[in-house]
Every structure is written in structure tokens, then in C-alpha cells.
Amino acid sequence: MKGIVFTGLLEMVEKRFGYVVANDIIIKSNLPSEGVYTSVGTYDYKEMQSLVKQLSVETGLSGNELLEAFGTYYFEKLAAKAVDLFSVSDGLFVFLSKVETYIHPEVLKLYPDAQLPTFVIEEHTENRILMLYQSKRRMEYFAFGLLKGAISYFGETAEVSMEGKGNGDTLFIISKK
């Protein structure tokens, strides 16, 4: 997992819960990397699970809630970094349909070692998109948060809901109002 995700998480933790909490979860998680993350480095995704689990202990919030919140928070950061790949003018649905076919391939050019989930468009109508999320790392709530972040980023009135399909496969339904 790219370091940017870790630095993003810690940034959010610092902002929301204070640097002491951020420091605490790093120390308590007893990480192989010792919490030394650079955004361009690559780290074991299990460290993310450890951090979220520890944060959940510290905050009393569930891991899924935390991942969702992190996803929403993190989308803004991604958008700021990826100005070459998409822009607000694209609109939400165009962006979503580009994720798997364009954005991810481009990301892989930049970070050949990045491990990306797949977002297959199952259905694409004027008002609705069905995306099937598949990842070994089972970060569906993170993805859920990202999608929420995306909706707010594009300033569109849309709703996203999720349906577990087993084995961590998750179907996201994004509907415009």
C-alpha cells in the first residue's frame, strides 16, 4: 500500500483526534515500519489494518466508520494530487466510469508497484451507476468513504449505498437524485 494512504490517515488522525492519539496508535500498533511513512514509499497494508484497529480502540468508533470517514477525508487529497487525471468539470458519473479504465492505469504508470482494487461498472444509466468493488485487502468501507468524498467533491446531489456480494466483493449503487 502506498505511503500516501498512511500519511493521509495519520494526517486525519492528527487533525481530528490530536497528534498524541496519532502517536499513541503508531506506538501501540507495534508496526514493522515503526510508523515512518513517506508518501511515495510502499508498506504492508496490514499496517493500515493495525492502525485502524488501534484507532478504533482509542476512539471507540468502529473500524468501518473510521475507514469510511478516512475515505471521505482522503478523496480531497487525491483530487488535489490528480489534477491531470480528472477535474470537477468531468462530473461524477464520467469520473466514476473513468476510474477503472483510465485513472487506475495511469496511476500504475506512475507507481508500478501500487496495488489497486478493481471497480467494474456493472450498469451505467443516466441516473445510476452500479460498480463492483473487488480487492484482496477488503477496504470496501474506505472505498465507500471515497465515493462519498467524490460526490461532495463534484458537488452533485447523489447517494451511494453498498451491498456485500460475498468474499469482500461489494456492489456500490450510486444514484442521482
Binding site: 496519532a22 503508531i26 513517506t38
Partner: protein
């Protein structure tokens, strides 16, 4: 949270940030190095690219120069067109032409050489290439004149090519500039089209000739195609395209129900995209019912939607009829099976019932169906279950059928017998099974059992009858022996005329009584099928002659002429039963004399047919007597019937004679016939077949006159319990000069043999204490070889069949039936003495007359050698010499072998000697050499072997002496 903690957290964060920065810097450094090398690579590639661009630019610049470039391009384009192109100016001079044009019209010149050529001239030459060459020029002139574009004009070349021609006039600013000809070779395309249409026709033909309705529908259920089987009428078939079944029904005025049914099925296929199959019942114009098997198949397009629907229908009216017929037939068989009184079942190859008809269930006491699925073995009695597989299942499996009787148990345990005949049925595609038919024969078996008991009773009573007859025969013969013997002795005393007459009457009566007893016994034997014929070689004329001669006295007495005429000129011996022929002829001649008061009795034998190895001889006995009324001629052959009741009063007799003759003749292969005129006489005649014998018969005729003294002084033991018979035998034998010792029973006989030396024993069979058979066996076991091999002749009144075998088996040499006469006794005794090697002095007065007396007195008989020689005396002499030269060596070898107890070797030498003894006719050793051979071979009774060898050598020594004497060697 205190400050210290906060500071510590901050310090920790700071430390991490520092380390993260260092890690980032390292990554940046690595990336920078990477970037640098990529930059270098890009610069290199860029310069290479620039060079290539420069080269290309230069190239292009050169090519773009001048108008020529465009022209070249155009020319190139035209040259590469798929069409043949010819551009002419307004004067019909060629401006441009391509290679394809040259190829098409077979112009031998390159296209650029044609530029400027005059097409008007060329057309005259070119026209010959076209099929309609005459109109070609006209057509071209017309186009040139009209100056209107004319496209796709089809032209046919003589070489078969098809060309589409475009004529395009070119106008520029209102001025005619020339015209363009474009030729497109569409031959291949046309061929392909033709092929496609042929193929289409081919498939249509197939569709049309399939003996089934075939229709194709679009997804609106409208007909796209129907084959002629579906709709025969051509017009209707064309009409229906685009129509629906409903349209069709309306048009034909048919019930719409059919169309609706089909429509429902159609919709089903459209929905489910699967084929459906159904049977349709239709009435034709004549109102007959027809059945169709129909199917709808969907044809799906690429997206999986139904594009077309194929309807398929076969007329199954015939099949339906068959099915109904089969059903009816099956019902009939089922009824037959169910209602038949015959027992019918089927079972599989393991013997499990598949089906059992009610007749079986009922018989066996089971409910219908109760036996089905059960093993047949369950119904078989316990002790026979084991046989079921081997004796039935395996047999039927291998042979395909089996029959026999099953013993089965009914439900109540009653034993039933079923006579069955079962067959294995094998049909292709199904397992073999057995169909069984049976019949309850339990009652028959019970009846048969009763019959068997009855038969046993009958057999037992028949046996009792036989025993009674044997006893009766014995009881009568024994006193008869005395009567006849004493009468014979009485005849030797001096009697006056009256006494002699009485004696004759006694003898005649006794003889008649004997004939009656013999007739009764014979008839019994014939009835019981126990009479067996002999197969002996004998001379037929001699036999008949003898028989006729014996009646000479009787005929003379009545003043009748008795004549025998033999018409068989050929000399041959026949094989048959001389005794039975004698019996028949005696009977017939006796009758003829009996029923004839004056005139003659004529006996004839005639050769009817002669084949290579077979002759047919006719026997005729003709008399001039009373004759037989025509209505009695058949009856006289029945037993106990005579021509008239007065006959028995006048002539006596049992009435069995002719019946026995007829039966005997039948047994010998002939038929006794009679021709008779009442008061004129009778002729009895029959024809018998005989095998011709290759051997000269060794006739055993009893000589008329015998020299009873010729046997010399012999010592004979007579074992006999009846005093009269003792006296008779003693008297006869002593009159021959013999010494006679008497024994009253078998035990005494054995004792006497042990104590004294005899030449021969006459042994009665039925005696008290020990019978003749036991006594013989005891004597044969005696240690003294000479005594053990004494000739023993049975004297018996038991003459039923099988008895003689019994005597010979017991070790007796011969037998004589009581009552016997002197001459018969003499022949038997002399024969057995001679066979035992006793020398017999020759009597001059008999040797001349009776050839067989010679045999009796001779140690050897060269008859066989003489036969083989065919009259060559030198050959006979050579054979005899050979015998004298070789046999002493064999004798010596055999003696040595026996002395050293080499029994097997002895047996082998005996075997070697056997054929010599036979061919030299040394009859007395015939039996003994065989016994020796057998004993030696099996190493049995070895204690007797040395004695046997010694005896054989003694006899052979005598033979050699005799032969030397006879042949003067």
C-alpha cells in the same frame, strides 16, 4: 495530559518525520539518477528521430517535384485498378490503358505502347473475342454516337468470361473530351452466384424431397417456406408465403381450432426457445383420420432471439395403425397367456420369474402375481435345488432350449410333475430371457408308476413261466433220456417181429414227444425274442441232402417217391444257421409225407439271385397230398391251428410246426408261402438271403456209420445222479471199449479226479451235494495241470438259451443235450478227446467216406493253408517246411522264458505262435495257446504256465512228427 507526555509525543513524531524525510531523500536521489539516465536516452532517441525526419523530408521533396508526379500517380492508380480501363480521346485515340485491359483482351503489347493507337481499327480485331461479335461494332458505334453514360452492360467473351462494361463520356466545359471504357471481369462472381444458386437449388431439392412437411416461419408465425410435401398445390404453396395458419384455415374453410392450437405451441417455442413436439389428428378431404407427428424448432440469431421457426411434420397414420394393431395383438397374446390352460411363464437368466400365467398360479396354489419376482428354485423340492443350475439353467443358456420334467412343490407342499419345453429368447437390444411352456403330468406320472408296478408283476410272471418251462423241459428230458436210451439198448438185443414193432412204436412216441417239447420251447423263445440265430459257414446242398435222406425210410414206408433236386450249380458255402434250416426243412418234409398218401414229395433248392457276396436261395417242398383249402391257407401259419380239426385226429401234432417255421424263416429274412389245390397237393416255398462264405465249410455231419471202437480204450468219469442215466451211459461207453467210473454227485466227481487219471469227464449239471458247474470250477483249480485241464462235457436237460454260455464260462469244453443218442455222444467225445491231444487211431473203412472223421483223427488240418494256396501244392509244402523249421526254436524260447519265470516274454512268444497254430489247423491248442498268451501278458495264474508250455510243446512235437511222416520229410 501533562506537558511532559506531549513533549515526548512530539519528540517521537519529530523523530519519525526526520526519518521519513531521510527515506524520501533517498528515494528522490534514486529517482533523480533514474531520471538522468532516462533523459540521456531520450536525447539519443530524439536525435535519431530528427535524422529520420530529415531523410524523409528530403525524399518527399524530390517526389513532389513536377507535374509528372501527379501523372505518374494517376497512371499508377489506373494500373492498379481492379478494372480494365481504356481512355480514348474524341478521335478514338488511346490516351491511357492499363495492364488489366491488355490481359482481358489478350493484347500482346505492354499498355504504354498502346498509347495513341486507333481504337476504331482495333475494335475490328477485338470483336472476334466476343460471342455476339457481329453486333459488337454496331453497339460501340451507337454508344459513341449517343455520348451518354451506359453502365453495367453485360458482355460475354467466347472464352466464357463475363464482363460488365461502363461507357463514360467525358465532357469538359461543354466540350467532348473523349470517353472512358471500364471493363469489370465478373466471371468469378457470376460463377460463384451460379454455384450459390445451384447450391440453393440443391438444398431446396432436399427439402422438397424429404418425405415430411417442412415449413419455415418468421417470428410472426407467417410462412416463409413450405415444401411440396406440406402443400402439394404449387399455387397454394406460393400463396401461403407471408400468410398464417389462420389465413390458411379461413381460405380452406377449415376449423380455426387447429390454427389456435398451433399458435399456442408457436408462442411457447417463442417464449421458451426450445423445440416442441406434438401429435396432430387431422381429417382429410375424404373424412379419413390421419395422424401427424409435428415439431417446431426455433432458430436463434446471434443475440439469442428467435429469428426463424421451423415446422416439421411426418404422417404417422400408418405407424399409428401399426401401433394400434400391435396393441390389439399384444392384448390377444396377453389374453392367451392369461386365459390359457397351458402353463406359461417367462423368467430371466438367473431363474427369476418375470411373468407367470394364472394357470400356473392356480395349479401351484398361489395368488396371481405372487410368484413373480421369486426364484424358480424356491418352488423345487429341497434335495433337487442343487441340480437346477447345472441341469437346467446352464443347459438352456448354452443350447437355447431345454426340455424335461420339473418336480415342483405347490404352496400346500404337494409334489407336482411338470413336463416342460422352454426356450431362450434373445432380442436385439434387450436382455435374453426364457419362455417356458409346461404341462402338469402329475397324474400321468402316478399312472406310469402303477403301470411300472404292473409291468414288474408281468415280468415276474414271465420269468416264472420261463423257469417253469425250463424245469418242465428238464423234468421230461431226464426220464426221456432213460426211455430212449434203454429202447436203443433193447434194439441191440434179439427181438421177434412183434417185439421189434413195439419197440419201434416206443421210439416213435418218444421222438414225437421230444418234438412237441422242442416246439413248445422254440415257440416260447421266438415269442420272448430270445431265439438267436447262429452264423456258421456250411454247405447248403449237403445239409438239405442229409435232411432229405433222413426221411427216406419214412417215405418208403408210405410208398412215396422222395426226391431232392439241387438247382444251384455254383459251388459255394453260405453263412447262416444250418440247424434252423434243418428244423424248417424237417418240418416241411415231415408234413409233406404226413399229408400225402400216394405220389411224391419233391424237395428243391434254386439259386434265385447271386451278388458279389450275397445269394438268394429258394427252397421248395412240393407234395401230391390232400392240399389245403383256400380259406385255410392263411390260418395254418397261426400257432395251434391246423387245416381242420380232423387233421389232429388223423395226423397228430401240436399245430405249432408251421407257425415256428414261418417265424424262423422270417427271422432269417424270408417269408414262407404256400400254393395249394385241395386234393391235388401243396407247395411250400420261401426264399432266404445268405452271405457267401469265403471259407470252405467244416461240415460236422454225423456219419451214417461210425466206428465206435476207433477211440481206443479210454477212461471216462461219468458224474450223474440218476441211476438210469448212469446205467445208460456206462453201458454205451463200455460197448465202445471204454473204462467207466461213476460219481453220484459233483463232490464225488472232484474226489475221483484227484484220485485217478481220466481222459474225459461227462458231467451232469443238476446234481445233489455239488452241481456240475461247481465241480467243474473245482477241477479247473486243481494243482495238477493235466487234471485241471481235463476235457469236461456237460450233459444236461437244461437247454434254454444262455445255459450253454454258462457251462462254457464255468470252464467246460462242450455240452450235449439230453436225451442224446449214441452217435451224438460219440462225436462230442471224440472231438473233445482229439482237442485235448489224445491220439486217435484211424479206421480205414470210415476215412474214405467221411472227410470230417479225418479231421478228428488228425493233429493238424491244412485246409486253411490249402485255401490260401489256391491249389499250389508247392506253396503248401513250403508252408509246412517253414513250420517244421521255425517252430522248434520258438518252442525252445518259450520253455526257457517259462523256466526263468519271464511270464510276459512267455505270453509274447505264445502270441507269436498263435497265428501259426491257427493256420496249421492245430485245433487242440487253439484255446490253450490263447489262455497262455493272456496269462503271460497279465502275469496271472503263473503257476499253470510251465505246465501249459510243456503240454503245448508236447502237442507241437507230435504235430511235427506227424507232418514229417505225412509229407515224407
Amino acid at each position: 495530559m501533562d506537558l511532559k507526555q506531549q513533549i515526548q509525543a512530539l519528540e517521537q513524531i519529530l523523530e519519525r518525520e526526520r526519518r521519513a524525510r531521510m527515506a524520501s531523500e533517498q528515494l528522490i536521489e534514486e529517482k533523480a539518477t533514474e531520471l538522468y539516465s532516462i533523459h540521456r536516452e531520450v536525447i539519443k532517441l530524439n536525435s535519431k528521430l530528427e535524422q529520420l525526419v530529415a531523410e524523409r523530408t528530403e525524399d518527399l521533396t524530390l517526389k513532389n517535384e513536377g507535374l509528372q508526379v501527379a501523372t505518374n500517380r494517376l497512371a499508377l492508380l489506373i494500373q492498379n485498378l481492379q478494372f480494365a480501363v481504356l481512355l480514348e480521346d474524341e478521335y478514338r485515340k488511346i490516351v491511357m490503358v492499363n495492364q488489366r485491359f491488355c490481359d482481358l483482351f489478350m493484347t500482346p503489347v505492354a499498355p504504354e505502347k498502346l498509347i495513341g493507337a486507333d481504337c476504331a481499327e482495333a475494335a475490328e480485331e477485338t470483336k472476334e473475342l466476343f460471342q455476339d461479335s457481329e453486333t459488337f461494332i454496331e453497339r460501340v458505334d451507337r454508344l459513341l454516337e449517343d455520348r451518354q453514360p451506359f453502365l453495367n452492360e453485360e458482355l460475354h467473351l467466347k472464352n466464357g468470361k463475363v464482363i460488365l462494361r461502363d461507357f463514360i463520356p467525358i465532357w469538359s466545359q461543354g466540350k467532348y473530351q473523349g470517353h472512358l471504357w471500364i471493363y469489370n471481369d465478373v466471371t468469378e462472381k457470376r460463377m460463384a452466384e451460379l454455384k450459390l444458386s445451384e447450391q440453393r437449388q440443391f438444398y431446396e431439392n432436399i427439402l422438397n424431397s424429404i418425405p415430411a412437411d417442412i415449413a419455415v416461419f418468421n417470428n410472426q408465425h407467417q410462412y416463409l417456406f413450405v415444401n411440396p410435401v406440406g402443400i402439394k398445390d404449387d399455387a397454394l404453396r406460393e400463396w401461403i408465403i407471408g400468410k398464417t395458419d389462420e389465413d390458411y384455415c379461413r381460405m380452406r374453410g377449415r376449423d380455426l381450432g387447429l390454427a389456435k392450437d398451433r399458435s399456442q405451441l408457436f408462442n411457447k417455442v417463442m417464449k421458451e426457445k426450445k423445440q416442441v413436439e406434438w401429435e396432430e389428428r387431422l381429417l382429410n378431404k375424404e373424412g379419413e383420420v390421419g395422424y401427424f407427428l409435428r415439431k417446431f424448432f426455433p432458430v436463434l440469431d446471434a443475440s439469442g432471439e428467435v429469428e426463424l421457426l421451423i415446422g416439421y411434420g411426418v404422417n404417422i397414420t400408418e405407424r399409428k395403425k401399426w401401433e394400434q394393431e400391435v396393441e390389439r395383438s399384444e392384448k390377444r397374446y396377453r389374453d392367451l397367456f392369461d386365459y390359457s390352460q397351458a402353463l406359461i411363464c417367462t423368467h430371466d437368466m438367473d431363474g427369476v420369474f418375470i411373468n407367470v400365467n394364472p394357470a400356473i398360479s392356480e395349479l401351484m396354489g398361489y395368488a396371481p402375481g405372487e410368484m413373480i419376482g421369486r426364484k424358480i428354485e424356491e418352488f423345487i423340492p429341497y434335495d433337487e435345488k442343487g441340480l437346477f443350475k447345472t441341469l437346467y439353467l446352464d443347459v438352456i443358456n448354452e443350447k437355447g432350449k431345454a426340455e424335461g420334467v420339473f418336480r415342483v412343490l405347490s404352496k400346500e407342499g404337494k409334489k407336482l410333475y411338470l413336463l416342460f419345453k422352454n426356450y431362450k429368447m434373445e432380442e436385439y437390444g434387450s436382455d435374453p430371457y426364457i419362455i417356458g411352456f409346461s404341462q402338469d403330468i402329475s397324474e400321468m406320472i402316478a399312472a406310469e408308476k402303477e403301470l411300472r408296478v404292473a409291468k414288474k408283476i408281468t415280468e415276474e410272471s414271465a420269468k416264472a413261466k420261463e423257469v417253469f418251462l425250463a424245469n418242465m423241459s428238464h423234468e421230461i428230458r431226464t426220464p426221456m433220456n432213460g426211455v430212449m436210451g434203454i429202447a436203443g439198448l433193447l434194439g441191440k438185443t434179439s427181438l421177434d417181429e412183434e417185439q421189434r414193432n413195439y419197440l419201434r412204436l416206443i421210439q416213435e412216441s418218444a421222438n414225437n414227444l421230444l418234438v412237441i417239447i422242442n416246439d413248445v420251447l422254440d415257440l416260447e423263445k421266438i415269442i420272448m425274442g430270445k431265439l438267436q440265430l447262429e452264423n456258421l459257414a456250411f454247405s447248403l446242398p449237403e445239409r438239405i441232402e442229409m435232411c432229405v435222406q433222413s426221411f427216406t425210410y419214412k417215405a418208403e414206408e408210405k410208398g412215396l417217391t422222395l426226391l431232392y433236386k439241387n438247382f444251384c450249380k455254383d459251388e459255394f458255402a453260405v453263412i447262416g444257421d444250418p440247424y434252423r434250416i434243418n428244423q424248417v426243412m424237417n418240418n416241411l418234409i415231415n408234413n409233406a409225407i404226413k399229408f400225402t398218401d400216394k405220389g411224391s414229395v419233391l424237395v428243391e433248392t434254386r439259386l434265385k439271385e447271386r451278388h458279389e457276396s450275397k445269394v438268394f436261395i429258394e427252397f421248395i417242398v412240393n407234395d401230391t397230398g390232400v392240399g389245403i383249402p383256400e380259406n385255410k391257407q392263411k390260418e395254418i401259419f397261426e400257432p395251434f391251428v391246423q387245416a381242420s380239426s380232423s387233421v389232429s385226429r388223423l395226423h397228430g401234432g401240436t399245430g405249432l410246426g408251421l407257425s415256428i417255421c414261418k417265424d424262423l424263416i422270417n427271422m432269417m429274412g424270408g417269408e414262407l408261402m404256400v400254393d395249394s389245390l385241395e386234393g391235388k397237393g401243396s407247395t411250400f416255398h420261401f426264399v432266404l438271403p445268405f452271405e457267401i462264405s469265403s471259407m470252405i465249410p467244416n461240415t460236422q455231419k454225423i456219419p451214417d456209420h461210425m466206428d465206435y471202437k476207433s477211440l481206443g480204450n479210454r477212461k471216462i468219469l461219468v458224474a450223474e445222479d440218476v441211476e438210469l442215466n448212469q446205467f445208460l451211459a456206462k453201458h454205451i461207453l463200455e460197448s465202445w471199449g471204454f473204462e467207466v467210473v461213476l460219481a453220484n454227485n459233483g463232490l464225488e466227481a472232484v474226489e475221483r479226479v484227484k484220485a485217478e487219471n481220466f481222459d474225459l469227464i461227462l458231467m451232469d449239471i443238476q446234481m445233489p451235494e455239488m452241481d456240475g458247474i461247481a465241480a467243474t470250477e473245482a477241477i479247473r483249480k486243481l494243482e495238477d495241470v493235466k487234471k485241471a485241464s481235463l476235457p469236461i462235457v456237460a450233459l444236461t436237460a437244461n437247454v434254454l438259451k444262455g445255459d450253454s454260455d454258462k457251462y462254457l464260462r464255468a470252464g467246460m469244453n462242450d455240452y450235449l443235450a439230453k436225451p442224446f443218442d449214441e452217435s451224438k455222444l460219440f462225436v462230442v467225445i471224440s472231438k473233445n478227446l482229439q482237442e485235448a491231444g489224445v491220439e486217435i487211431q484211424s479206421a480205414n473203412q470210415t476215412t474214405q467216406k467221411i472227410s470230417n472223421m479225418e479231421t478228428i483223427q488228425k493233429l493238424y488240418d491244412l485246409a486253411m493253408v490249402e485255401t490260401i494256396s489256391g491249389g499250389d501244392k508247392a506253396f503248401v509244402k513250403k508252408m509246412v517246411q517253414l513250420f517244421i523249421d521255425t517252430i522248434p526254436q520258438t518252442m525252445q524260447d518259450m520253455e526257457k522264458a517259462a523256466a526263468s519265470e519271464q511270464w510276459e516274454a512267455t505270453g509274447k512268444l505264445a502270441h507269436k505262435m498263435k497265428s501259426t497254430i491257427d493256420s496249421m489247423g492245430i485245433v487242440s491248442l487253439k484255446a490253450e495257446i490263447r489262455t497262455l498268451e493272456a496269462n503271460g501278458k497279465a502275469s496271472e495264474s503263473v503257476d499253470q504256465i510251465p505246465g501249459q508250455v510243456q503240454h503245448i510243446n508236447e502237442v507241437l512235437g507230435k504235430c511235427i512228427e506227424q507232418i514229417k511222416k505225412d509229407f515224407g520229410l
